[in-house]
């Protein structure tokens, strides 16, 4: 990862994190690259890009009052460029701070 930091182009994981943090002001932002789990995935065979699958866990006040579909769509919109340039799939958990601490 440190060697990647040395290159001029950010890794997809870094770009994803940066875009989401800027827009969502997340209190929790976990971006896990699980592309290795889908290495044999038929739909991505031949893809030269290795960063194809990510699990996202995001806690942000921006999700307040939003349905699950709207939250996911918001995230997809923010990452539209990535989805068009090799990102294949996202698993998304999107919650408000209140939902992670119901007692408050």
């Amino acid at each position: 990862m440190s060697s990647r930091g040395a290159t001029a182009v950010l890794s997809r994981a870094s770009r994803i994190r940066s875009k989401l943090q800027t827009a969502l002001e997340a209190t929790v932002l976990e971006v896990d690259d699980v592309s290795y789990q889908h290495a044999g995935h038929a739909a991505v065979k031949g893809s030269s890009d290795k960063e194809t699958h990510f699990n996202l866990n995001i806690v942000s006040p921006k999700f307040e009052g939003q349905s699950l579909v709207k939250r996911h769509r918001l995230i997809y919109d923010l990452l539209a460029d990535e989805l068009q340039s090799g990102l294949h799939a996202l698993s998304i958990v999107a919650k408000t701070p209140h939902e992670t601490n119901p007692s408050k």
Binding site: H41, A42, A43, L68, V69, R73, Y76, A89, L90
Partner: protein
């Protein structure tokens, strides 16, 4: 619930590894198309056809008819019996926990259909699930709704016609 969920997830993983070496020819001839309703106004072009390209109805109209006529409609990678993606497999297995008829189209067979569904729902990934004409979301949301009981609520008035 936890046991049931673990079972679903396990089956999903098992299904994925089982189907990994699957070649396209294994399910050649096994096609899942939306059934046509008994609506007397249904246009002939909506009747089952081997290839969507033969229809002069736009793909957007095909999709609109699909989700209208089929109470549970899934656009997925592969077909319910042979999913070619862990996410599509998961969504199918969750839905199959309920006794409802599941209609499916394999978007890997038709790139134009794939793009048309993305545009129709404004959603960039697959699977995509529609229930009673309403876009529900992908496998994450279907699984979440299953866990919260929302899915059971939404499906309660859809009965199997078998």
């Amino acid at each position: 619930m936890t046991t049931s969920l673990s079972s679903i997830l396990f089956k999903g993983i098992a299904a994925r590894s089982f189907t990994a070496p699957l070649t396209r020819s294994c399910y050649h001839g096994m096609r899942y198309f939306a059934t046509v309703s008994n609506d007397p106004d249904t246009h002939d072009d909506f009747k089952p056809a081997n290839k969507l390209e033969n229809s002069n109805i736009s793909l957007a109209d095909v999709i609109e008819q699909d989700v209208k006529d089929n109470p549970v409609m899934i656009y997925m990678k592969g077909v319910p019996d042979f999913p070619q993606c862990g996410f599509s497999s998961l969504a199918v297995r969750v839905l199959q926990q309920y006794d409802v008829p599941l209609s499916a189209r394999n978007i890997l067979e038709d790139p134009e259909l794939k793009n048309a569904v993305k545009a129709f729902s404004n959603w960039p990934t697959f699977p995509q699930v529609f229930i009673k004409g309403e876009f529900i979301g992908g496998s994450d949301i279907v699984l979440n709704m299953h866990q919260t009981g929302d899915l059971k609520e939404k499906l309660k008035d859809i009965t199997s016609k078998q």
